[in-house]
Symmetry: C2
Subunit: 525 residues, 2 copies
């Protein structure tokens, strides 16, 4: 097939029908090659595998910098391959986001290898070098294994490429998004007069919208718990607002009394329904009560916990959510969508009017007047993907009942794993899970190893390729000082406690091994 | 298959191998059903098709609001279906972004229909109701037909779901992104010491980054041409900066002399390399010279024109780009990626340091020190999709030479279509295309119909389902007043002038018919 064949139009489905099996074959080969939740060897090994795939500049393959190409390459520099390997070596200081870029053209060859070879090779590479959340031992983050139905739906969205900035680029996609977001708005606000919701790139953008809508209402001082996601402070910075006033927490839960003491009418409070560290939910009814009394605005970051609304047995945890002015939800957490699948719901559709913008080529007044729906004010982006399509297909396939059952299963598994942690002589449980996060600490860390041991256990498991677990700093130390904990965020909808018990033993064994290693050579900072 | 089967892990490729063919079958059926570039009938017909698919509330299918479900539905409201149809009716005032939401649950059923049925039905619906840029007559916007190779690659990215906010969620995906963005940085800045680039959701986010990096360098006054994209002013608003100072243009090109008169050291200039209206490029060397003399910062919005750098014959148009402090590029324009595929390049990697942020769970100091790459400072998002993967696969398949050839073909086609416009007695050409945009006006609009006729021609072709063409307001009227033009943005890499000549005739015929209709019933405002 020509490398430049199109995905849409008359022959599009046939072309995809030829190419996608090659990508899937590469993916299956890579999954088998990896043989675990994450590639072993850490950053150095992964970078080396990539360099091996790309080839070295001096091999003069058609894919890399050619010395003659002075305008684009930089002959005489160190090969990117060697630099990449060095970059990833543990202990190397240059691992920040703005470390030196690889020299030469990077992954930007002049001549191509064709669609078939590129797809199969790189799909294998990606699968072999990924942390796969479909493996239960990949349990660090709010990083879910996507449902096949959503991934399949996304193929059609990609192929037809509706761009959600004007109706004439996305006729039915924009109507379907509108129906879907209306459903989400109603899920969050069952009793509101006129709620609405828009699609975002995730909790970070949704939290930014929460502060932006407040700002446009003249409310410029953010307030959040010490348990809030870092995106709240980042949004304040981005929007030119003052840094958030931080309210103390207890048990990773914002204290309404402390909030009451500092709140004034010029404030927008961000509460959390499912913290990133522990999955704890803030006491929403009490917080909403304080906000109402003090005439403050309330945004709830329910990126993690929000879709528990789909479960009749769990939705009580979110009581009070409907009192918020706005809500962030992520269907790439509970919702099992590939990233991104963010949503932002507002109790009053009129509040979203702050996003209104005119661009003559996209939503001229006379077009809108003539009946062409105006989409531009439904996002701070312009071009955007119809992520609502795969969300709508997923919900059409499973229903909210089906999705709610998956949320329940993850939460039940977490509760059971927590009981195993409590019963384990080598582990300490932070507290009972409220959603699906289990926070634990090797007893050896309390006795001798301290936080450094905790951090080393996590990195050792990652480096060995045997598990991806998370970390959380929580104020459980003497005098409320932060202490480092390990975290299992359970988002695998089919895993059971049996899948996690061996991981608990491995954590304890690794802690023991790291303690011995630490005694032999002092723990590196 | 179970509706909740996973896309990743051991059986993931097999599950996708079963489901994707159903989605593609639905898509092919929908494409055939549409039989043109866009569904006929306008918003009313599209909304009605969606309602028909979903079913009416009173049919009591399992997919819609059940009256008993008082917590989630709102019994007694008007059915969403009827509301949707009315909403789309031409002339209906309620077509803005914050029109009333559909009543009831929208597209959020309690019970599902299973993965197979949901996928095939909704894929057909999406294809039948889309404006397909793989049809040459869909030529309104910078809305490209995606390459099959990119869409196929995206399947693997979706299935494995690397999230680009920490290395342990995206080991090889993050390294590959780094290699790819390094190549892009080098493409923009062949001679710079240490350029870097990051992935964005498109020109809107890239332009925001351009202003944000300026702001973090203490430069807070944006300046742009009257030809700049609306996202520049929107970014200033979002970031809490003053509204941009707007510099006059001639021929949709910023006037360097006019810039010289107003520029001060506290300014950041946004120049455009390929305007949305006409594809014109600002005189970058002159603008860069003015900026250097006045010690102003320069960001270039090359979202449209940037990838012409891949063509040896076209890259001269972008001379001076390498003098900018930062550059926006979109591979979902020239690059043939599904939305989103934005890039932001900075001449000095250190400038991106403004994005640095710490979140203990994602990039703790001790983890970074121990060699885990820190990804969080490479975006203003947190979770994000590995869009670099499909871009890298595409470039691996085609090479920059292959991609450059496609850009050349679109530009050559535009030049030829422009000659046909010039030769057409019923049309007037705005000016010779610099990239792939052809701007034209029916002569009938100059004679009697005016701007209203131009707008009606566009809407009539859209309503008939026969073509999707764009509009551009340009200061060609008496005394420099804006006049409305029609716009063909040619991004179909395989179409030739032959595909567009019939469209030119259809525009003239439609203008004639609309004139007659206007005489019979006065032109609606």
């Amino acid at each position: 097939m020509r490398a430049d064949g199109l995905a849409g139009g008359d022959g599009g489905a046939d072309r995809l029908g030829e190419l996608i099996p090659l990508a899937l074959r590469g993916m299956a080969a890579g999954v088998a090659e990896r043989g675990g939740p994450v590639p072993a060897g850490g950053p150095a090994a992964v970078a080396a595998a990539l360099v091996a795939e790309r080839g070295e500049p001096d091999q003069a393959t058609p894919r890399v910098t050619e010395p003659a190409d002075a305008a684009l390459g930089e002959p005489g520099r160190q090969p990117a391959g060697a630099a990449s390997v060095e970059r990833g070596t543990p202990g190397h200081a240059n691992s920040g986001p703005h470390r030196a870029a690889p020299a030469g053209r990077g992954w930007l060859p002049r001549r191509g290898v064709g669609a078939e070879a590129a797809l199969e090779e790189l799909s294998r590479l990606l699968a072999a070098g990924s942390a796969d959340p479909a493996d239960p031992a990949c349990a660090a983050h709010l990083h879910c294994p996507p449902l096949a139905v959503s991934v399949a739906a996304d193929v059609v969205a990609s192929a037809l490429n509706p761009s959600m900035d004007s109706w004439d680029q996305a006729p039915v996609a924009s109507e379907l998004e509108r129906e879907f977001t209306a459903g989400i708005a109603r899920l969050c606000y069952p009793e509101a007069e006129n709620p609405d919701a828009v699609v975002t790139t995730g909790g970070t953008e949704s939290n930014l919208l929460g502060l932006l809508l407040a700002r446009e209402n003249g409310i410029v001082q953010p307030v959040c718990g010490a348990n809030a996601h870092h995106s709240v402070a980042r949004a304040a910075w981005l929007l030119g607002l003052p840094a958030p006033i931080v309210v103390p927490c207890e048990g990773d839960r914002l204290l309404p009394d402390a909030l009451d003491k500092i709140l004034t009418p010029g404030c927008v409070v961000v509460a959390t329904a499912g913290t990133t560290n522990t999955g704890t939910l803030d006491p929403l009814p009490e917080i909403a009560g304080v906000c109402r009394r003090k005439r403050a605005r309330l945004h709830v970051d329910a990126a993690y916990g929000g879709m528990a609304l789909c479960s009749d047995t769990l939705k009580g945890k979110l009581a009070g959510l409907e009192l918020a002015d706005s809500v962030a939800l992520d269907l790439h957490k509970f919702g099992w969508q590939p990233v991104a699948a963010g949503l932002f719901a507002a109790r009053e559709a009129a509040d979203l009017g702050a996003l209104t913008v005119r661009a003559e080529y996209l939503n001229a007044d006379d077009d809108t007047e003539a009946g062409l729906p105006d989409l531009l004010g439904r996002s701070i982006r312009t071009s955007r993907r119809p992520d609502a399509f795969r969300m709508a297909v997923t919900l059409h396939a499973l229903g909210t009942d089906g999705l709610g059952a998956l949320v329940e299963r993850c939460c039940a598994t977490a509760a059971e794993v927590a009981r195993h942690v409590e019963a384990h002589p080598g582990l300490r449980l932070w507290g009972p899970p409220e959603l699906s996060t289990v926070v634990l600490r090797p007893v050896a860390a309390d006795e001798t190893g301290g936080d450094e041991l905790v951090a080393r256990v996590r990195r050792a498991l990652l480096e060995a390729g045997s598990a991806v677990i998370g970390r959380a700093a929580l104020p459980t130390g003497p005098g409320g000082a932060n202490q480092l904990w390990l975290k299992l965020t359970l988002l695998h909808p089919h895993a059971t406690a049996v899948d996690y018990v061996p991981l608990l033993d491995r954590i304890v064994a690794t802690a023991g091994a790291e303690l011995v290693a630490g005694r032999e050579s002092p723990v590196a900072s």
